[in-house]
């Protein structure tokens, strides 16, 4: 039976960063990833990574505390302020480290790391490397993993967790190449599996970002936190929903409706305009579209034409490439049609500020975790920062926690879990219904956009929840999975669709319960923030009857909740 | 896992089948003409060296090699030399001046020069073939 002291699940930024930290501390570590690390969704991040470096003229009054305040304010005061403080205070160090590892940041004329303005931030503090910051960070961190010789199991999928006495003691894996199931023991497991965007149809996320990973710990009893808070990115390309970075607006792009009007002035102050926080800008765009001021194809325009060819080529070359490749538009001469798209989940696996979940030996970091630094709405540029900072902290903590422990797999628990998964797979292959599971996936995704989108309403959400239950019923009556072993994508999809349904249910129940408007959770029937009753985190725990909700207070240290105005 | 076995010659056909572009085309022809020219070079030295055994030996050898067929083949030789020379210069320009972006343009310019060269060659060589 295979054994590693620490297992990192997920080869994105958070996972890779955690692995480096563990390797540096001298513990044995292996990364397990469904895809090669360089294919991770982190590489799609475009705009930048926040840190109060005060490198440019306009940001010279910036400080860690101001970054902290902006983050908390952006979160609509739902963020745990101690976690946010850690995030913002470690930011400069984390970024200097990346730079020392070779990340090719763009530079100011003095040779320092360049910064650009981003939504919801008081100063230009987003460090960037043209508009491919995520890709370059991912390259850098992966290269460091090569340097530290970290073992990577590429194209191995985690199917389940093995637990013993409420402690995590390993994972069950499927090697996609051979189709074999493998049990792998570990003293600590770090989940860094990223987002769940694919349960929505209009997502900017990669095809691999399904709800599967997050549901694995959920099924064995690890609670999920704040799942109702889904961020909608204001600018995603029409139809394909490919991300158009916030940097477009940071560099001075305009949003225009069909009358050519810069409509953001109606929703936020003249000073902020397009650079409001994402939830507000996204809702403004959707309002314009809903009230008939959008273009006939249901979009508004992101206008970069006034920036000039030089600036676009220098700062936003990737955006230009995407526009030319996918819709045949050159943003130097034509505005880009955009709509809001599902982008990020603020919630996730419940962790404390060291990445430790309520289950011993089980950690989480990155987008799949909810340390709650982002509260109800994340600011642009903070997600890359979160992956790096909390990946690092989770790695450190996990490495500490396994020191001096037995280096032996707990055979009994692993074998049980292995048996369970083998049965699951057999069941999937034996099914003989009529339904096409992919139809269920698509219908779920469409429904989520309609019922749990930017604007939410009690009755819509209730019908949405009914729909989920119906789809769950239908899922029992699907066709059997393809029987082959090698690279069986079909079987994997079955797992993912089943998980999508469960995660959607958690999301729906959490959202229906929260009777207020906060950050990205905007309800038309309760359109005010309610600090009296709802300044608390939603915790959803698995039970066979469906998710059980409980609540947890928000940590408030320095900034008292106030009205959020931009 | 499956991997196709490569034959020594088959390999060139496969590469051409999967990459039908200027680069592969000129690489293949460059190789072929290079080998032909090297073989020709040695043959050439051998024929000329017959002069070492006196003028008669040289003249009798030249009679053997100056037939309508060899004169016709000389046109082919000119094609080889012309292509190899021009393409060699094209690659050298790309390597020395980092002009990789312009390689296609250079190819077509070289093609035009090659065409001119061939017109002159044919006008001189074809009459020679039929003068026997």
């Amino acid at each position: 039976m295979l054994f590693h002291e620490v297992l990192v699940i997920g080869g994105g930024l958070a996972g890779l960063r955690a692995a480096i930290e563990i390797a540096k501390m001298g513990q044995e570590v292996a990364i397990i990833s469904k895809i090669h690390p360089m294919r991770s969704h982190s590489g799609e991040a475009q705009g930048g990574i926040n840190a109060s470096l005060a490198n440019v003229e306009k940001s010279k009054d910036d400080s860690k505390e101001k970054h902290w305040y902006d983050t908390v304010k952006g979160s609509d005061f739902l963020a745990d302020q101690d976690a946010s403080e850690i995030l913002t205070a470690s930011a400069p160090e984390a970024i200097f480290e990346m730079e020392h590892w070779g990340c090719p940041f763009s530079r100011t004329p003095e040779g320092k790391i360049a910064q650009r303005p981003f939504g919801g931030a008081g100063f230009p503090r987003t460090c960037y490397a043209t508009d491919k910051t995520g890709l370059y960070l991912l390259q850098t961190v992966w290269e460091q993993n090569i340097k530290h010789n970290v073992k990577v199991y590429e194209e191995w999928v985690v199917l389940g967790l093995a637990t013993e006495d409420g402690k995590c003691c390993g994972v069950i894996l499927m090697d996609l190449r051979s189709g074999e199931l493998v049990a792998m023991g570990a003293n600590a497991v770090i989940f860094a599996t990223g987002g769940i965007g694919r349960i929505y149809a209009n997502t900017t996320n990669a095809i691999t970002n399904t709800g599967f990973a997050i549901s694995i710990p959920y099924w064995v009893g690890v609670p999920l936190k704040d799942m109702e808070f889904i961020q909608f990115h204001p600018t995603s390309l029409a139809r394909t929903h490919i991300l158009m970075t916030e940097g477009c607006r940071g560099e001075g792009g305009y949003l225009r409706n069909k009358d050519g009007e810069r409509f953001m002035s109606k929703y936020v102050s003249e000073k902020v305009m397009e650079l409001g926080p994402r939830d507000i800008v996204a809702r403004s765009i959707q309002t314009e579209i809903n009230e008939g001021r959008g273009f006939p194809d249901g979009t508004v325009h992101l206008d970069l034409t006034h920036l000039g060819a030089k600036k676009i080529m220098e700062r936003l070359p990737g955006i230009r490439d995407i526009c030319m490749n996918f819709i045949g538009i050159d943003p130097i001469y034509e505005p880009i049609p955009i709509t809001p798209g599902t982008h990020y989940i603020m919630g996730g696996i419940d962790t404390d500020k060291n990445g430790q979940t309520p289950m011993e030996g089980f950690f989480a970091a990155g987008e799949c975790a909810c340390v709650s630094t982002h509260g109800a709405n994340r600011l642009g540029g903070n997600s890359l920062l979160e992956t790096v900072v909390f990946g690092w902290r989770a790695g450190e903590k996990a490495a500490e926690s396994v020191k001096g422990k037995d280096k032996k797999a707990k055979t009994k628990a692993l074998e049980d879990a292995l048996k369970r998964e083998q049965d699951n797979i057999q069941n999937f292959k034996k099914l003989s219904g009529k339904e096409n599971p992919y139809k269920i996936k698509d219908e779920l995704a469409e429904m989520m956009v309609k019922s749990f989108g930017l604007f939410r309403k009690e009755e819509d959400m209730k019908t949405g929840l009914d729909e989920i239950m119906k789809l769950k019923e239908r899922f029992k009556n699907i066709r059997g999975a393809f029987g082959g072993k090698v690279f069986n994508l079909d079987l994997l999809s079955f797992y993912e669709i089943k998980a999508n349904l469960d995660v959607a249910e958690v999301l729906a129940i959490s959202a229906i319960a929260r009777k207020e408007t906060r950050g990205s959770h905007y309800r038309t029937d309760f359109n005010k923030r309610d600090d009296q009753n709802w300044l608390k985190h939603t915790i959803a725990t698995y039970s066979p009857e469906g998710p059980q909700l409980s609540y947890k207070p928000v940590t408030i240290t320095k900034f008292q909740p106030e009205e959020r105005k931009y | 896992m499956y991997q196709k076995k490569l034959g020594i010659i088959q390999y060139y056909f496969d590469e051409w089948a999967l990459n039908r572009n200027i680069g592969t085309f000129s690489w293949l022809l460059h190789r072929l003409t290079g080998v032909i020219l090297t073989i020709y070079l040695f043959a050439h030295i051998l024929v000329v060296s017959s002069g070492l055994w006196g003028p008669e030996s040289f003249n009798s050898w030249l009679k053997v090699v100056q037939t309508p067929l060899t004169h016709f083949l000389e046109i082919f030789l000119m094609i080889c030399i012309g292509f190899h020379l021009l393409n060699g210069l094209r690659i050298t320009i790309a390597d020395f001046f980092l002009a990789t972006k312009e390689h296609k343009a250079i190819f077509w310019v070289a093609g035009a020069i090659f065409a001119l060269f061939m017109i002159v060659t044919l006008s001189v060589f074809l009459p020679r073939v039929f003068s026997h």
Partner: protein, 116 residues
Amino acid sequence: MNQKQSFSSAYGWFIQRITGILLAFFLIVHINVLHFGEKFFIDFNMVTQRLEGSFLWAIFYIIFIPVVLFHGLNGIWGLVEDYRPSQGAQKTVKVLLWILGIVGTFYGILAITPFL
């Protein structure tokens, strides 16, 4: 970074290009004179007329022959190397090519002496 480095291939590459450029000049002169300039049929006398007592032509061929042989045989070596022969085979081919080159050079220069 433990694999054996070979700067000889670096010079091989460079000299191949330089000899290539030189050959462009040599060949144009050689072919122009022989194939385009001369009458239809060549015999011993015609060649002797051209070369006899010409110091320049002698120098021309003494440089031309080694350059063209190096270029040709180095090209063949590049082709052979692509097939990744074993160390032993590589050595054999290398020695063979060097012998061919040196013998060819001497024999080639020798071959033009009757005309001088």
